[in-house]
Amino acid sequence: MLKILKYSFFDLIRSRWSYVYFLFYLGLGSVLLFLNNDLAKAIITLMNVITILVPLIGTVFGVMYYYNSKEFTELLLAQPIKRSSIFIGQYLGVSLSLAMSLIIGLGIPFALYGLFQSNEIWDFGLLLINGLFLTLIFTALAFNIALYNENKIKGFSYAILLWLFMAVIYDGLFLMTLIAFQSYPLDGFSLVATMSNPIDLSRILILLKLDISALLGYTGAVFQKFFGTGLGLLVSILALSLWVVLPTLNMYRKSRKKDF
C-alpha cells in the first residue's frame, strides 16, 4: 500500500493543479495577513474559506483522480498487489497531496508573519487539522461515489451535489427545521444534525477553540452548553474521525467486490 501511496502522491504533486491549489493558498494567506495585519481575523476568514473550498476541491479532485487513473488502476489490479491496498493507497495519495498544498501554502505566509511568536499558533494549528480532516473526509466520499458509479458524468454530478448539499443546502434545511419546530426542544436534534455534517462540525470546532460566541450561532451555543469547550472539541474531533473511518471502510468493502 505504501508503494501505491508513494506513486500516487508523486504523480499528483507534479500535476499543474496541485501547484495552482498551493499558490492559491499561498496568495490567500499572504494577502489576508499582510493587508489585514490581524492574525485572529485572518484565521476566521480562512476558516470560512477552508470549510467551503477544501470540501469542493477534495470531492472534485477525488472523483477526477479516480476516473482519470482508471486504466492505470486496471494495470495495478493485474499485478500481485492486494486490491484494497490499491484503492486505499490511491486515496491517501490524493488526500495527502491536497492536504500538503493546503498546509504548506498557508504555513509559509503565517510562518513569515511571525506566527511562532504569537499565541494564535494553536488556533492556526487547529485550522490546518481541520483542513486535513475535511480533505480526508471529502476525498473518501468522492472515492466512494466514483466506486459506485461507472459513468463519469454521473459520478461528477453526484460529487458536486454532495458538496452543494453539505456546504449550502444542509444549513438551509437545518435552519428551516429549527424555525418550523421552534416550539419544541431542539437541543438533541441540532447536536445530531451538526454531527452529521462534517462541514458544520469543523466550523464549530474552530469557533469553539477561538471562543467567539458571537459567531457560534445556535448549534455552536448548544454544543458549548452541552459539552463545554474542552469536551466539545474532543467530541467534534471524534465525530470527524468517524467521518474519515466510515467512508474508508466502505471503500475497502466495495473495492473488494467490484468488477473491473
Binding site: D11, K70, E71, R83
Partner: protein
C-alpha cells in the same frame, strides 16, 4: 496450469459467461476467440481476479484466485487499452512496475527491440497510441512469469513491431510457458496459436487445434472455418 469450472458471470441482466469449463494444463499458445461481446475479456479478467465471478471455481497453479492474491506473481498481463498516468515518464513507469512487483526485468532488451530509447524520458501523456502499446508490451513481457495473457496485443502496432511481437511470443513459448491471447486478426492467430478456445454464448464452444477445426469444418481456410463455426451454430 489454469483450471476453470462452471464459471458464471453476469453484468446486470446481461449474462456473459454461463458455465465455462476450461483447463489449460500444458504449455503453448492458446488463442481465445469469439464474436464481440462473447466474454473473452471477461474470462481473462476473471483469471486475473479483476472480475469477481458469480459462481464457479478458478484456480491458477493450484491457488484459488479468491483468496491468494499472490498468484498474480505468476502472470504477466497486457491490458487491451494502454492508458497510463500522464505525468509519469516512460522510464519511471517501467521502474515503478518493477518496484511494485519486486522483480528485476529484462526491459533493456525489449526497449532496444521496440526502439523505445528516444521515448524513455518523455511523459506518457505525449506518446502516440502505437508507442504506448509498445511500452505496454515492454511492461508485460519484461518479467519472466510462467503465464502470459495478452488482450489484443496487435492493436496499433506497426508491421516491424508486429514481427518482433511474433518472435517474442515464439521465444516465450520455447521456454515452456502458457500464453493466452485474444485477437480479432485471424492471420495472426493462425500463425502463432497452437490451440484455439472458441467462446460463444457464454460457453466454450470449441477447444482444439486449428487443424482439428479445419477438418471438422471441412475447409482448409482458417478464417472460413471460424465463420462456419458461427453459422454452424445458427443453422
Amino acid at each position: 496450469m489454469i483450471q476453470i469450472e462452471q464459471l458464471h458471470k453476469k453484468f446486470g441482466k446481461n449474462k456473459i459467461l454461463e458455465g465455462v469449463n476450461l483447463t489449460i494444463g500444458s504449455q503453448g499458445v492458446f488463442a481465445i476467440l469469439g464474436p464481440n461481446g462473447s466474454g473473452k475479456t471477461t474470462l481473462i479478467k476473471t483469471i486475473l481476479g479483476m472480475v469477481i465471478p458469480d459462481k464457479g471455481i478458478v484456480t491458477v497453479n493450484e491457488n484459488s484466485i479468491k483468496t491468494h492474491w499472490k498468484y498474480r506473481d505468476d502472470i504477466d498481463y497486457l491490458p487491451q487499452i494502454a492508458n497510463f498516468p500522464a505525468n509519469l515518464k516512460v522510464r519511471e513507469l517501467i521502474a515503478m512496475i518493477k518496484d511494485l512487483r519486486n522483480r528485476q526485468g529484462n526491459d533493456e532488451r525489449l526497449i532496444s527491440l521496440f526502439k523505445l530509447q528516444p521515448f524513455l524520458s518523455k511523459k506518457l501523456g505525449n506518446l502516440s497510441g502505437g508507442t504506448k502499446q509498445k511500452v505496454n508490451l515492454v511492461l508485460t513481457l519484461m518479467f519472466d512469469s510462467p503465464i502470459i495473457i495478452l488482450d489484443e496485443p496487435t492493436t496499433g502496432l506497426d508491421p516491424i513491431a508486429l514481427l518482433h511481437l511474433k518472435q517474442l511470443i515464439a521465444e516465450e513459448k520455447e521456454k515452456g510457458k502458457i500464453i493466452l491471447i485474444t485477437s480479432h486478426i485471424m492471420g495472426f492467430v493462425e500463425e502463432i496459436a497452437d490451440e484455439i478456445v472458441f467462446l460463444l454464448e457464454g460457453k466454450v464452444y470449441f477447444k482444439g487445434t486449428i487443424d482439428t477445426l479445419k477438418t471438422q469444418m471441412e475447409t482448409s481456410n482458417f478464417e472460413q472455418a471460424i465463420a462456419s463455426l458461427l453459422t454452424y451454430e445458427n443453422a
